[in-house]
C-alpha cells in the first residue's frame, strides 16, 4: 500500500521497517516482495491518510530481512559476523533474492586480487582425480568412482556414484548438467560418458559411440566442451583399436562425428582437449606419463586433418635424467602459442604459427624454491583466464600476466599438501589438494563503490 510519497512499511517478525517503492523495485517482479506489492494483490487504492498506518506483515526473521533490505538499497552485501551464512541464504531463497545475494557476494575474476574465502573438506581420503568449476560458482570433485557436487553456496548435493567405474574427467554443460567420462571395465561393457543432474545426481543421458552403425562400448578420457557451437569432444578408446576423438551435440546428445586416430598421433589416450574458438579446431595433447613421446596437435574436423602438430619423439635421443618432459599443455589463442610445463615447473612455449618449431623454455627455477626431494608432489597443471596464465606447483598456484608472462601473484595455503588439480569458472578458482581431501575456494572481492 504505497503512500503518497512512495513509502512502504513492513512488519517483519514484529520489527517495523520502512522503505520506498524504488528500493523494492530492485527486487524485481519475480520475487516475493515484487508480487506482494503488485497491483493484482492490492486491487483497491486505499483512501489517503489510511495509507500511512497500513503495513505489510511478514512472518520471517527480522535480522536477515534487514541485511537483504540493505542489499536492495545499496547493491552491497554486508553480513553481520554472528549471522550464519546458511540462515541468510535460506531467507534469501524465501524472498526469491538468492540471485542478488550471489551477484553481490564476489566480483569479476582477477587472478591478482584473489582471496581465499573457504576451504571445504570432503569425506573421502585424499588423492582426488579432478576438480571442475561450474558456470554459476559451484564445483564438482571426482574421486575414484564418485563425483561430489557442490553448489555456489558450497552446499554439498547428492553425490554422483558410478558403480565402481573409474571417473576419468568431468565437465559442466550448464549449472544443472555435468558430463562424466569413465573407464570401461573388462567384460562389463560399461564405461563411456553420461550427463548427470547436478542437483539430484541422477543419470539423464548416455553418450553412445557407433562405428559402422554398430554401437560399441568404449573408455572415455579427457573432455572438452565447445562453448560456441554446443559440442562435446572426448578422447575415446574402443575395444578394437577404435581410438580417436568422438564428438557429440550438447543439445540432442547424439554423436555427430568421430576423428579416427591417424598413424603417429595418439588421440585416444589424450590427457587434455581444448576447443579453440578462433581457429575452429581442437587441441589434443597426449603427454608423459601416459605416453613416452608427447604429442600435441590441432585437429580440424571439417576436413579431418591435423593442422599443426608437435612431438618430442625425435628430440629425446639422449635419454638423460635431466631431460625436460612436457607434463601439461594449454593453448593460448591470443598469443598463438601453446604453453607447456615440465617436471621442474619450468614454463615453455610452442609457436602455433610455425610447424615443427621447438619449445622455448623459460626457466623459473630461480624464482621459486625447489621442493624438498622427499616430499610427495603432484604433476603441475596449467590454466588460462582472460589473458592470465595459472600454473600449479607443489602447494601453490602462480599467476602470470602480460606478454612476457611475468609472475605477478602466488596463491598458497598452508595445509592439505600439494595441489593435484585446479579449475577456474563462475568467477571463482577451486584448488584441490592431494594429501587431504580439501579444496580451496578463491574469489575476487566485489569492488566497492567509493
Amino acid at each position: 500500500m504505497a503512500s503518497r510519497r512512495g513509502r512502504i512499511r513492513f512488519n517483519v517478525g514484529g520489527k517495523i521497517f520502512e522503505t520506498t517503492a524504488t528500493t523494492l523495485a530492485n527486487a524485481g517482479r519475480h520475487s516475493m516482495l515484487g508480487a506482494l506489492l503488485d497491483d493484482s494483490w492490492n486491487p483497491r487504492q486505499p483512501v489517503e491518510g489510511e495509507a500511512a498506518d497500513a503495513e505489510y506483515f511478514i512472518d520471517r526473521n527480522p535480522a536477515c530481512f534487514a541485511v537483504l533490505l540493505d542489499l536492495l538499497r545499496t547493491g552491497e552485501l554486508h553480513v553481520p559476523p554472528n549471522m550464519p551464512e546458511k540462515l541468510l541464504n535460506r531467507e534469501a531463497l524465501f524472498y526469491g533474492l538468492l540471485d542478488q545475494v550471489r551477484a553481490a557476494r564476489w566480483g569479476p575474476f582477477d587472478g591478482n586480487r584473489l582471496q581465499l574465502v573457504d576451504s571445504v573438506s570432503g569425506r573421502a581420503p585424499g588423492d582426488g582425480t579432478a576438480i571442475r568449476a561450474g558456470p554459476d560458482g559451484g564445483c564438482c570433485v571426482a574421486h575414484g568412482s564418485m563425483v561430489h557436487v557442490y553448489d555456489w553456496m558450497l552446499e554439498e548435493h547428492r553425490p554422483i556414484s558410478l558403480d565402481y567405474q573409474q571417473v576419468n574427467d568431468v565437465g559442466y554443460i550448464d549449472a544443472e548438467s555435468i558430463v562424466i567420462s569413465a573407464r570401461e571395465r573388462l567384460g562389463k561393457g560399461d564405461g563411456g560418458m553420461g550427463v548427470f543432474s547436478s542437483s539430484t545426481g541422477e543419470l539423464r543421458h548416455r553418450f553412445r559411440v557407433s562405428h559402422d552403425n554398430q554401437v560399441k562400448s568404449f573408455t572415455a578420457g579427457a573432455l572438452s566442451l565447445g562453448s560456441s557451437d554446443y559440442k562435446i569432444f572426448a578422447s575415446c578408446k574402443g575395444r578394437c583399436n577404435e581410438y580417436g576423438i568422438g564428438v557429440w551435440d550438447q543439445i540432442t546428445g547424439q554423436q555427430v562425428d568421430f576423428f579416427y586416430e591417424p598413424p603417429g598421433c595418439s588421440l585416444g589416450d589424450a590427457d587434455k582437449l581444448q576447443w579453440l574458438d578462433g581457429d575452429k579446431c581442437l587441441m589434443v595433447a597426449t603427454l608423459f606419463p601416459r605416453t613416452d613421446n608427447c604429442f600435441i596437435g590441432l585437429l580440424d574436423f571439417r576436413d579431418k586433418s591435423v593442422n599443426w602438430s608437435w612431438s618430442d619423439a625425435g628430440t629425446s635421443v639422449s635419454l638423460s635424467l635431466d631431460e625436460k618432459r612436457v607434463l601439461h599443455a594449454i593453448a593460448i589463442e591470443d598469443s598463438r602459442s601453446i604453453c607447456v610445463v615440465n617436471q621442474y615447473d619450468d614454463l615453455g612455449f610452442i609457436d602455433l604459427r610455425s610447424n615443427a618449431g621447438g619449445v622455448r623454455w623459460s626457466s623459473r627455477s630461480k624464482l621459486t624454491n625447489r621442493k624438498a626431494p622427499n616430499e610427495e608432489s603432484c604433476y603441475p597443471k596449467l590454466a588460462t583466464h582472460n589473458g592470465q596464465l595459472f600454473s600449479s606447483m607443489n602447494d601453490g598456484i602462480s599467476v602470470f600476466c602480460g606478454p612476457e608472462w611475468v609472475l605477478t601473484s602466488t596463491l598458497r595455503r598452508s595445509y592439505g599438501g600439494s595441489i593435484c588439480d585446479f579449475s577456474i569458472g563462475g568467477d571463482r578458482l577451486f584448488a584441490l589438494h592431494s594429501e587431504e581431501n580439501v579444496f580451496d575456494v578463491w574469489e575476487t572481492p566485489p569492488s566497492l563503490t567509493i
Binding site: H30, S31, M32, A35, L36, D38, S40, W41, P43, R44, Y56, F57, I58, D59, L93, F94, G96, E176, S199, T200
Partner: protein, 733 residues
C-alpha cells in the same frame, strides 16, 4: 542443586518424534485451493498474499511439494473445464468474444497463482523436472480449451470465415482477431501453426486460385497485375495487423504462387497488353509492377528477360535490314541510338537498373547490329556528320553525350577494324577540307577510341593530327623564308601527309598549270632542304583551290573548286573552247575523275561556269566545252562541289572490304606466331579459338581464313605439321 537431585526428579524424553499435525498438509492445501477458487471467481480482494505465500512455502519445506503440485493441476483443470463449457455455450459471433474474455481472465489468474507458488516454482519444480506453473497453465488451457473437440473446429472455422469476409470487402473486428491469434502464439508456435496457420494457408491457396482464374479471363495484363499487387499488399497488411510476423513469408508465397507463378506465361504473352505492348508503349508503371511481382517467383525475371530479348532482336533485325532506313546512314544510326535510349530508360525506370537486363539489352544490340555488315561504315558516317556540322552551337557536355552514345554502339561492333578504316577515311576528308567543327571534339573522340581499343588502334589517327599541325608550321616557315621571291603569284598551302597514316591511294599526279608548278617546285626545294632524305609526291586528287574569274559582263567571282577543276579552268585562260579529248590530254586527269569534274562544272544549275555541247546530263568522250560567258550568280563566292556520293558506292564498298581483308591477314598471322611461340605445339582447333579470342576486340576472324594463314605460314616455314599426328602444328624457331 543437591536438593533437587534428592527429589529424584526425572525429565523424560518424548516417547515419539515431534510430528506435524497429520492434517496440516491437508488443511494448508484447503486454504490454497480456496484461494485459487476465489482468484478464478474474481474474488481475490479478501486474500492475503503473505499468508498464502507462507503456506505454499511451508508445504514445499515440509516435503508436500508433490501434493501441492498435483493439487494445482487438478484444481486448474477443473476450472478450465468449466470455462470450456461456458465458451461452448456462447452463441455465434459471441464465441470469439467469450473466448477472448476467458483467456484474459485465465492469464490474470495464472499470474496470481504463480505469485503464490513462487517458492515451489523456484525449488521444487526444477529439481523434480516438473513444468513451471506458467507453462503448465498454458498447456492446460491448450489441452482443455483449444483442443476440446467442440471448440477446436469451431474456432478454426470462425477465424477462416472472418478472414474470408475481410478478403471480400467486409470490415471485421481486427482487435479481436489479434487477441485470438496472439493467444495461439502464446500457447507455442506449434499450436499456432497446426491449429491455424496450415489450414489458413490451404484456404488462401484455393481462394486465390479461383480468383486468379476469374481475373485472368476478364482483365488485361496491366489490370491483372494491379489487382495482384493489391492482394499481395492486403495480405502483408493483414499479417502486420493480426498474424504472426513469420506468417508473412508463407502467405505471400501462396499469393505469389497462385496469382503470378501459375499465370506467368499467359500474362507475359497476353495479346495487346502483354509485355511486348508494354515495352512498345513505354508503360513504365506497368513494367515496374510486373518486374516487382515477377521478381518474387522463381524464373519470373528470366521470363521477362527472355521475352524482352526476343522482341528486341526481332525489332532490331527489322531495323537493320529495312532498305528504307539504309538509305540514310545518319538516320539509321539515330534510330539505333533512340532504340537504345528507350530501353535504357525502361530498365532504369521500371527494372531497377537490373544488371541481367542490361546484359540482355547489350547482347541483343550486339546481335543485330552485326547482322548488317555496313554498320561500321554507318556509325563512322554518323560521327562524320556530327563532327562536320551537327554539333555546331551545342555545348561541350552535350557533345560528350553524343560521342559516348556512339562509343556504346561501337562497343557492339565485331568488326572494329572496318570501323577504323572508314573512320580514317572520313577523318582524312574532314581534316583536309577543313570541315571539322572543333579540334577538341575530334581529339575527345580519338581519346575515347584509345581507351576502348588501345594505343595501336588510334596511333595512325593521331598521326594525322600531328601531320596537320606540322604542316601549318612548315607553311609558316616556307612563307617567312621565301616571302620576297614569291611576289604576288598564287598562294600555296601544302599539307604534308605521312605515307601510311592516311588513307591515300597512289594516283598519278595530273599536269598542274605552269603558274602553280613554279611555286610547287619552290616548296619542294624548301621542304627537302629542311628535311633531307624524304620524298614528296603530290596528291592532286585531294586538293582545293580558290580562283578568281571574270565573266562576260565584267562581273567578278571567286570560285572554290578542287585541284582538278582548277586545272581544267586554267586551260580556259588561253581559249574559250576545248573538247573532252583536249582537256584529257592537257591535264592527264584520270577519266572517271575528269568526267565527274566536268559534270560539276557544266551540268549543275547555277554553277555552270562551262557550257557543254551538246547539252545533256552525261559526259561523252566527244563532247565540247565552252567558257560560259553568261554565267550568273548572286553570290560573289561560288562553291563548285564535286559530284560525289557521300555514301560509298557498291564498287568502292567492295574495294574497302577487300582492303580490310588484306589488312587482317598480317594481324592473323602475327597472332598465330605469337601463340605458337609460347605454346610450341598445338592442335588446329585450339589455335583457332586462341586466335579468335586474341583478335575479337578488333574483329571476328573467319576460321577458314585462319586456316589459310596457317597454311601460308607452313609454306614459309614458320610452322610445320607434326610427323606423327597431322592435327598438331609445331613452331619452328
Amino acid at each position: 542443586m543437591s536438593a533437587q537431585k534428592k527429589r529424584n526428579f526425572k525429565i523424560e524424553a518424548f516417547k515419539h518424534r515431534v510430528e506435524l499435525d497429520p492434517n496440516y498438509a491437508e488443511r494448508t492445501w484447503r486454504v490454497l485451493e480456496h484461494a485459487i477458487h476465489e482468484i478464478y471467481n474474481h474474488n481475490a480482494s479478501g486474500l492475503s498474499f503473505e499468508e498464502l505465500y507462507r503456506n505454499a512455502y511451508n508445504m514445499v519445506l515440509h516435503k508436500y511439494g508433490e501434493k501441492l503440485y498435483s493439487g494445482l493441476v487438478n484444481t486448474m483443470t477443473g476450472h478450465l473445464k468449466e470455462i470450456a463449457r461456458s465458451i461452448e455455450a456462447a452463441q455465434g459471433g459471441f464465441f470469439l468474444e467469450e473466448l477472448n474474455v476467458k483467456w484474459g481472465d485465465h492469464n490474470k489468474a495464472l499470474q496470481m497463482i504463480r505469485d503464490i507458488l513462487m517458492y515451489m516454482d523456484r525449488t521444487f519444480v526444477p529439481s523434480n523436472h516438473k513444468t513451471p506453473v506458467h507453462e503448465l497453465g498454458l498447456n492446460l488451457w491448450r489441452d482443455n480449451i483449444i483442443h476440446s473437440s467442440k471448440i477446436q473446429t469451431r474456432l478454426l472455422d470462425m477465424l477462416l470465415d472472418l478472414i474470408h469476409r475481410e478478403r471480400t470487402g467486409e470490415v471485421i473486428n481486427r482487435g479481436l482477431m489479434r487477441n485470438i491469434t496472439k493467444m495461439l502464439m502464446d500457447l507455442g508456435s506449434s499450436v499456432y501453426q497446426e491449429d491455424f496457420e496450415k489450414p489458413f494457408l490451404g484456404v488462401s491457396a484455393s481462394f486465390y486460385s479461383v480468383e486468379s482464374q476469374q481475373l485472368i479471363e476478364c482483365c488485361d495484363c496491366g489490370e491483372y497485375l494491379r489487382k495482384a499487387e493489391r492482394r499481395l499488399n492486403e495480405e502483408i497488411e493483414r499479417v502486420s495487423h493480426y498474424l504472426d510476423v513469420k506468417s508473412e513469408v508463407k502467405i505471400t508465397s501462396v499469393v505469389e504462387g497462385e496469382m503470378i507463378a501459375n499465370h506467368m506465361q499467359r500474362l507475359v504473352h497476353m495479346e495487346n497488353s502483354g509485355l511486348v505492348s508494354m515495352l512498345v508503349d513505354d508503360k513504365y508503371e506497368d513494367l515496374s509492377r510486373m518486374y516487382n511481382l515477377f521478381r518474387r517467383v522463381p524464373d519470373g525475371l528470366s521470363t521477362i528477360k527472355d521475352v524482352m530479348t526476343s522482341h528486341l532482336r526481332e525489332t532490331g533485325k527489322q531495323l537493320v535490314s529495312d532498305p528504307e532506313k539504309l538509305k540514310d546512314p545518319v538516320d539509321f544510326v539515330q534510330h539505333l541510338l533512340d532504340e537504345k535510349d528507350k530501353y535504357d530508360k525502361i530498365i532504369r525506370k521500371a527494372f531497377n537498373n537490373d544488371k541481367t537486363f542490361q546484359n540482355a539489352l547489350n547482347s541483343s544490340f550486339e546481335y543485330f547490329i552485326n547482322l548488317n555488315n555496313r554498320s561500321p561504315e554507318f556509325i563512322s558516317l554518323y560521327v562524320d556528320d556530327k563532327l562536320r556540322k551537327g554539333l555546331k552551337g551545342v555545348s561541350e557536355e552535350d557533345v560528350e553525350v553524343v560521342l559516348d552514345k556512339v562509343m556504346m554502339l561501337f562497343r557492339y561492333l565485331q568488326e572494329k577494324d572496318v570501323f577504323e578504316k572508314y573512320y580514317k577515311q572520313h577523318l582524312a576528308k574532314r581534316l583536309l577540307s577543313g570541315k571539322s567543327v572543333s579540334d577538341d571534339t575530334e581529339r575527345s573522340m580519338i581519346v575515347k577510341l584509345k581507351t576502348e581499343c588501345g594505343y595501336q588502334f588510334t596511333s595512325k589517327l593521331e598521326g594525322m593530327f600531328t601531320d596537320m599541325k606540322t604542316s601549318i608550321d612548315t607553311m609558316q616557315g616556307f612563307y617567312s623564308s621565301q616571302y620576297s621571291e614569291i611576289g604576288d603569284g598564287p598562294t600555296l598551302a601544302v599539307q604534308v601527309l605521312t605515307t601510311g597514316s592516311w588513307p591515300t591511294q597512289p594516283s598519278a599526279p595530273c599536269n598542274l598549270p605552269a603558274e602553280i608548278l613554279v611555286i610547287c617546285e619552290k616548296f619542294r626545294t624548301f621542304y627537302l632542304g629542311t628535311h633531307t632524305g624524304r620524298r614528296l609526291t603530290w596528291q592532286t586528287n585531294m586538293g582545293t583551290a580558290d580562283i578568281k574569274a571574270t565573266f562576260g559582263k565584267g562581273q567578278k567571282h571567286e570560285l572554290n573548286v578542287s585541284t582538278y577543276q582548277m586545272c581544267i579552268l586554267m586551260l580556259y585562260n588561253s581559249t574559250d573552247q576545248l573538247t573532252y579529248r583536249e582537256i584529257e590530254q592537257a591535264t592527264e586527269i584520270p577519266p572517271s575523275d575528269l568526267k565527274r569534274c566536268l559534270q560539276s562544272l557544266a551540268c549543275v544549275k547555277g554553277k555552270n561556269v562551262l557550257r557543254k555541247e551538246p547539252m545533256s546530263k552525261d559526259i561523252a568522250e566527244d563532247d565540247a566545252f565552252y567558257f560560259n560567258d553568261k554565267f550568273m550568280s548572286k553570290f560573289f563566292k561560288v562553291k563548285i562541289g564535286t559530284v560525289a556520293a557521300q555514301k560509298e558506292s557498291e564498287p568502292e564498298k567492295q574495294e574497302t572490304r577487300q582492303r580490310v581483308e588484306e589488312d587482317r591477314k598480317p594481324q592473323i598471322e602475327a597472332a598465330i606466331v605469337r601463340i605458337m611461340k609460347s605454346r610450341r605445339v598445338l592442335d588446329h582447333n585450339t589455335i583457332v579459338t586462341e586466335v579468335t579470342s586474341q583478335l575479337q576486340s578488333r574483329f571476328l576472324p573467319n576460321p577458314v581464313i585462319i586456316k589459310k594463314r596457317i597454311e601460308s605460314l607452313i609454306e614459309r616455314e614458320f610452322l610445320e605439321r607434326d610427323k606423327a599426328d597431322r592435327k598438331l602444328y609445331r613452331y619452328l624457331a
